[in-house]
């Protein structure tokens, strides 16, 4: 990341839309009156998603909204969509299936214009599937609420707005540490970031800070050892030693270069 890149606001799903709206308020603050594109691409049935965000964001002063939906990948080549992104101050990816985001957008003009928006300081936010899709590598699908078996996990390529990490969401609520450990066991230099519901990380300046109600779990396997290396399709339960784990909550911060929690001042807002 360069200093000119905009912030990424990566949300673990179910961000509060009716109460104090801590996370959506941060999105509104970052947009500073500019237009926000709500990208509902992750969903196979996006009806009602845009309206829910419109209603939640209006009382926060964020009223200049546009929706981006794609029925099929070919639509991503329509110049009108690229122009809509060029006219925006930010894009917000709602939930659904992260694989649909990647399938519809990766390698299309929308992808390129999104990267350009981010590079010139635009804010890119994503919740649930929209959070998973931020990474260069993502968990396409995988079992929750069980310890990891290699055959249960499907890794794929995300939008690549953030490199060197794999992001998971609805993290504590759906018992997903097993699959996140499985993901970093395959790529041990990748930092695993598990984000709880109604919780977000704000990525900028080489690190992130945490806001919201829950926790962010960091798992770092860079010094870890696998006594047995299960094949990709293995049904054996994972075994991995010496993973470093941090649990961060609102007010905490993390620096990517040192792979360590830092004081919040080190990741300037």
């Amino acid at each position: 990341m360069t200093d000119r890149s905009g912030a990424l606001i990566i949300i673990g799903g179910h961000e509060d839309k009716q109460g104090d709206r801590t996370i959506l308020s941060e999105v509104a603050r970052r947009l500073a009156g500019g237009r926000l594109v709500i990208a509902t691409v992750a969903s196979h049935k996006p009806e009602g998603y845009f309206e829910a965000y419109r209603d939640a964001l209006a009382p926060l002063g964020l009223t200049d909204l546009a929706e981006l939906y794609l029925d099929r990948r070919e639509d991503a080549f329509d110049p009108a969509h690229a122009a809509a992104i060029d006219a925006a101050a930010g894009v917000f990816f709602s939930g659904g299936d992260q694989q649909r985001i990647a399938d519809m957008i990766r390698g299309t003009p929308i992808d390129a214009h999104l990267q350009q928006l981010h590079a010139r300081g635009g804010t890119i936010a994503g919740t649930s599937a929209g959070a998973s899709a931020m990474g260069a590598t993502m968990i396409g699908s995988g079992a929750s609420a069980q310890s990891h078996r290699a055959g249960d996990l499907h890794m794929s390529q995300g939008l690549g707005l953030l490199h060197g990490v794999v992001i998971d969401q609805h993290f504590a609520e759906r018992g997903r540490i097993g699959r996140l450990l499985g993901a970093i066991a395959r790529q041990r230099d990748t930092i695993g970031i598990g984000i709880d519901e109604d919780t977000a990380i704000i990525v900028e300046d080489g690190g992130f800070s945490v806001i919201g109600a829950g926790a962010v779990t960091i798992v770092d396997a860079s010094d870890a050892m696998l006594p047995r290396d299960p094949g990709e399709g293995s049904s054996d339960t994972l075994s991995i030693r010496d993973v470093r784990l941090h649990l961060l909550s609102a007010g905490d911060a993390f620096a990517f270069a040192s792979r360590a929690p830092v004081e919040p001042e080190a990741v300037a807002a």
Copy 2:
């Protein structure tokens, strides 16, 4: 533990009772034809528990069974119960509420005779609530499937058959890493052991080995740091840095003295 102490077989709940019965077979092997007392004390409604174990254990050659149930704590002072434990080669605690095991047994003659049985080489097994009750300290109750808030966790005293650890069960299935991190955050020299369903640790000779289908999660906060120390009743989400995590599965072993995974030969069967 001395070399003469018997094994502890600590099971994460839902051990297989109809298929290959890996864990119950190990219980039967350890009993070597001796009598097993099935202690259904954890349950408020123990009907059917004894019969389920009788049916599951009979094909494994373990047929010399007795049931121990206590309607109230006063019953634990009946000499007949102590005599039943003295006549047994092992005791198996079934599931329910670990607090009920502690409330009925701690400090009674049953407690003393159980410790004597263990000290002279008897096998003590426990599943689910019966697993949690093994430790000197236990999670009496706490929220699952969310990150830890101190106010959600109630710690209490268990039977003390194993010191220096806190045990949790149904671990991956119920998303319990949050509460286990909460428990070790309060007592950072205590090793947290989270055992999945149909998975067990066999404790003997200063360490344990793993059997069964799932994983055993070890969390070690001995080098961890808490940036903020939430009070006992706090509703703040926990923040903790530098926890060491190991995920062990069948064939792995762990030594308490080094707080580290070891080759299985180091924890002799």
